[in-house]
């Protein structure tokens, strides 16, 4: 327990001071990417980890918020309006997603979300008058926060970090709440939950909305980061990537999505500079995770840590105290 707190403290301090010790602006930007992808993965984790609902269409929701921001800015609206419209668009799309896909669970849910994601991708690609088709939409500027322009990498990093910390805080509160417990209940025993008086569909619906909110927020951060949005962002590959972040980090854990996002973004942006076949490496890492830590990196590491600690405790304590140490 204390080891966990110490690890969390180190990560927190490292994140807070990151622009001061990081090698360069490029890496500060990589850190920003990790953080907004982590928010995206946190959003998907609400459904995958806590709701037992695997979505393969979340990149569509992510992209629609990004496009909405870009389109509103292109029309000449200010940043606050663009962000607000993007949030509303993201949530409205989630309502449609939820109503259509919650008619089933398991494979059915995966296939419907996948189809919806593909529809949005197709729209982004072909509805040229709005989306610019293949050319995408350019976002000329980033907003200014408290007199400091976010075009500065450090300011953008701190803004993203703030939003990330708020998102993790929200997740932490949500997971411990009665509603969070109810959602986990519908994952494990939907039939029983119904017989206990819960409205299983409505619980899943509101979980979708929470997931949609985090996804929309991360989509907006994404479009301000790249200052460009194209159909590529909505592709099935993007949906699969964020799902892999959740699964590799540890679904149903608070920090798994962050670790998963870190892994994918670092391999994609940093390791790819040294290894041409970085896709191969990423695949190999995922295979290794599935074989060695099928529950994900965060719970897997915790398990290894505990067993290591227990072994040490066994080695030093006399036999009489053994049971106490292992309990």
């Amino acid at each position: 327990m204390s080891a966990r707190l110490i690890a969390l403290g180190i990560v927190f301090v490292a994140l807070l001071t990151l622009p001061y010790w990081m090698f360069g602006v490029y890496y500060v930007n990589v850190a920003s990417q990790i953080l907004f992808y982590a928010i995206f993965a946190l959003g998907l984790n609400v459904l995958v980890g806590y709701g037992g609902l695997v979505s393969l269409g979340h990149a569509g929701l992510f992209g629609i918020s990004a496009y909405a921001t870009g389109y509103m800015l292109q029309l000449g609206y200010g940043h606050p309006t663009a962000i607000l419209v993007a949030l509303i668009m993201g949530l409205a799309s989630m309502v449609i997603y939820a109503v259509l896909s919650l008619r089933s669970t398991g494979i059915g849910f995966i296939m419907i979300t996948l189809a919806l994601g593909e529809i949005l991708w197709g729209l982004a690609y072909r509805w040229i008058s709005v989306t610019g088709g293949d050319n995408g939409i350019n976002v000329p500027s980033r907003p200014t926060l408290l007199g400091s322009s976010m075009s500065n990498a450090t300011t953008f990093y701190y803004t993203t970090l703030l939003v990330f910390l708020i998102s993790v805080g929200l997740m932490w509160v949500f997971v411990r709440s009665p509603f969070g417990a109810a959602l986990r209940g519908t994952r494990d025993q939907p039939r029983r939950m119904n017989a206990l008086g819960y409205h299983v569909w409505a619980i899943r619906f509101w979980a979708c909305m929470f997931s949609g909110l985090l996804t929309a927020v991360s989509g907006i951060l994404f479009v301000y980061y790249t200052q460009f949005i194209s159909p590529q962002t909505l592709s099935l590959t993007s949906s699969a990537e964020v799902l892999l972040m959740v699964i590799s980090g540890g679904p149903g854990t608070l920090l798994g999505p962050f670790v998963g996002a870190g892994l994918v973004v670092v391999v994609k942006n940093v390791v790819s500079a040294f290894i041409e076949r970085w896709n191969f490496l990423l695949g190999a890492i995922f295979v290794a995770i599935v074989i060695l830590m099928p529950e994900g990196l965060v719970p897997g590491t915790a398990r290894l840590w505990r067993s290591l600690w227990r072994k040490r405790a066994h080695a030093v304590t006399p036999p009489a105290a053994k049971t106490e140490a292992s309990s």
Binding site: S177, P178, F179, R184, G185, D188, A195, L196
Partner: protein
């Protein structure tokens, strides 16, 4: 007014009539036993009463109110609780968490996404009280994965009792238990006060006959014998379809 009234209830799956014109009248406080050979439609009858499956025709009344069209998730709020023949619990959580979920199901707090569940009113207190009734309060924090089969059966009952039901439906609460465990469960059930009406499906005649005041015998989805203990046991048809020889 009866606790539970079932009128001309019918249900078919394709050509298979699993429930045929079933009539049932259970008085408040009564202990009713439902018996019948495998495939007689006993669990289906429970699923119809709790609303997990919809009847083709007929009606169900709970304390005088027609609940035939009430969604199954509303029925616990009206005072109906059940246990499952195949244990249906939350295996990743502790015993007390399982019972807390049962309590939360009837509370508006189940929609609360903010407050810590452990600080949610007197959830833990009431959960422990329910566990006390089945004798599991001392291991309330134990993860369900580390409990025995007999303990899980009692958790099932504690969850149903926690909801403070007026009508309790027990689907084979003794199935798969050893003699000692059976006695534990029997003790829990005997201690339930008379303001709870109970309907039980059970094959184990030793414990079931001791429990029941009236018995209904189902066979191929039909009620073929109903009456008090002696009447049903002595009825030649009971011997023919159920007790054998």
């Amino acid at each position: 007014m009866s606790a539970l009234t079932v009128n001309n209830l019918c249900k078919s799956f394709g050509g298979l009539h699993v429930t045929t014109n079933v009539n049932l009248n259970v008085e408040p406080g009564e202990r009713r036993l439902i018996i019948g050979p495998n495939g007689a439609g006993k669990t289906t009858l429970f699923n119809l009463i709790t609303g997990e499956i919809t009847p083709d025709s007929g009606s169900i009344h709970l304390f005088g109110d027609d609940i035939t069209k009430t969604p199954s998730r509303r029925r616990p709020h009206l005072g109906m609780a059940r246990t499952y023949q195949i244990i249906t619990l939350f295996p990743r959580d502790s015993i007390i968490h399982n019972v807390s979920l049962a309590l939360l199901g009837l509370s508006p707090a189940r929609w609360n996404p903010i407050t810590d569940m452990k600080r949610q009113g007197n959830l833990i207190e009431r959960g422990l009280a329910a566990l006390e009734r089945v004798g599991l309060a001392d291991i309330a924090e134990r993860p369900l994965a580390q409990t025995s089969y007999g303990e899980r059966r009692r958790v099932e009952i504690a969850m149903a009792l926690a909801q403070n039901p007026k009508l309790l439906l027990l689907d084979e609460p003794f199935a798969g238990l050893s003699i000692d465990e059976r006695q534990d469960v029997q003790k829990c059930l005997m201690a339930i006060p008379r303001d709870v009406t109970m309907v039980m499906i059970e094959h184990n005649m030793d414990v079931a006959l001791e429990f029941a005041e009236r018995i209904t015998l189902l066979h191929f989805g039909e009620v073929i014998v109903e009456g008090n203990r002696a009447e049903v046991v002595d009825n030649p048809r009971t011997r023919e379809v159920y007790l054998g020889h």
